[in-house]
């Protein structure tokens, strides 16, 4: 819980909610920057053996 709260405090503001079109270029540019925040997570995920990971992820069929 402490870890979650710490991360929460570090969050950056989300892009504005406007969607009508006026600020779309800015929204896209900002979105691209924000997506870079996922790069570390992508790198971590792909540092392992993807094929082994996929084989391990088999699930029971559910509802």
């Amino acid at each position: 819980m402490r870890e979650r709260e710490r991360r929460h405090n570090e969050e950056r503001p989300a892009p504005p909610a406007t969607a009508g079109g006026g600020n779309l270029d800015g929204l896209r540019a900002a979105g691209n920057d924000f997506l870079a925040a996922g790069d570390d997570a992508i790198n971590r995920a792909l540092s392992g053996d993807s094929e082994r990971f996929l084989a391990a992820s088999r699930q029971e069929g559910g509802e």
Binding site: G21, G31, A37, R58, E60, G62
Partner: protein, 597 residues
Amino acid sequence: MEDRTPENTMDTGALPKLCGADVELGNFILGVQHGQGTGRLASRALLRHMPGAAVEVDSWGGSSGGANWWFLDDGWGGGRGYGGATYNPQDWGRRYLPANGGCAYIDLDHLELCLPEVLSAYDHVAAWQAMLIIARGALERANAALADGGRVMAFANNSDGLGNSYGGHVNFLVSRRCFDNIFHRKLHYLLFLASYLTSSIVLTGAGKVGSENGRPEVGFQLSQRADFYETLTGIQTTYNRPIVNSRDESLCGRPGQGPARAANGMARLHVIFFDTTLCQVASLLKVGVTQLVLAMVEQDRVPGLMLEDPLRALLEWSHDPSLRAKARLVGGEAYTAVDVQQAILEAAARFVEEGRADGLVPRAGEIVACWAETLELLRRLDVEALASRLDWALKLCILRRAAAGRGLAWDAPALKHLDLMYSSIDPADGLYWACERGGAVRRVVSGGSVERFVHEPPDDTRAYLRAHLLRLAGQDAVSHMDWDHIRFRFPKDGRKWPTYRYVEMGMEEPLAWTRARCGESLERAGSLPEALTLLGAQETDSWGHPPKTAPVGPRLLPGVTAQGQEGLCRGAGLPEAGNITLEGSSWEDQQGGTYHA
């Protein structure tokens, strides 16, 4: 403007669009090899660390006695969740959460999270995020307890990419008349619902790399679940899955009190169609728009939008992330999924403007506005702008970014790996959470709202009373419960064998039993027996049936004196003897008591 308060809408058959949700997580253990997969082990490891009171639940009203008979098997032996109860692989080890009134259990080796009932789509978003925080705590504890070399993984998704799907269901309160119209009287209503659901994947699809279930190959598609729908309607959920599920379980009155039907005119639409979403806008639209659509159907305001072949349309739309694919309506016109959504939006906007959603769908105007904004972005196919709102768009942006930097094709295992990691509930490795922390995702509820549902139930549904009674009861006092009732047990003193008196709190009407109705009684009561007295709970036998022999005179709850009960009843405005028959001559007493050990 029409008065659509709950009291008045009952007369017209229209009901507030209460929403529940039951979501199966993907779960396995990385680093452990087992021929059958590790879902069983993983789901049990997670459930073991979920908070909450383990209680017996079964849909046929059986009871095996004590709530504290919970134990976990070794994960492989097909063990029983409860002493004496039949093992049910689709409902194993259920435990309700005194914190927020939701629950968790294991369904076919998936940890299933059930949200407390809410009225507002915004509350659904907050409650869903809160339940993920609770599950995340269980994940952390499970991994801390696991031997080195293994790691429990949990995903908020609907497919393993290997042909196995699991659901994220949402459920809505509808009138019995509405339910019967959809499934038994007006089948164009059913076809309209199918059109709405199939086209909604442009909003609610979570995105998926590849195809499954024998469907044509595709690099990336909008929906996790589309490949698995094989029929238009049916009651089943695990095979030959239907777009519109017709399972008739009201959870508003127990079977036997009207064959599979609540006598109070309430029914529940069990919507198995949607993907599990993480983006808050997608989750808001999934529930909020469906609330509006069902309110329209309930009031016979059904647009004439019927797809000629909903199953074919679903597949073609899902397999085309360019959103250009068209499907034929019954009348011959060809529509994209966005076209269908736009037509429904326009009808819904008029419906809301006329005040027909008032009292039924909280914040309907805001939902319509968000829906319209998002459809506008979809019309432009502005995937980068949509990424802040919709999971499929965010996932597509992430995958494109990863693929471009590494020269990966869609069939590369690394991209499927990232597809799964998008939905990991662990904030340390889940790609969604990384984007959310980075500010890439639009929020529609505050962190405070989410945190509230980690610790508190909604105020405006029966989840309020459920959570508060569980807090008063502790685990040992709960004999049996389901969404619409809780049966408590109280030890009888002075018996040679442990015997119990049973008192049941019925909560058939999900819109009653709110803070407004129960809060004062709960505050005044100093104990569970006092609270049950004030709330009008009824004595039953251990199976929940009324006592065979009518009690004579005023009866007392254990632990409440005659004077105390008199005072409690007066304070609550109840008759002093009234129908509170909470002690006395149950059938079991006459038979010499029931043995529970």
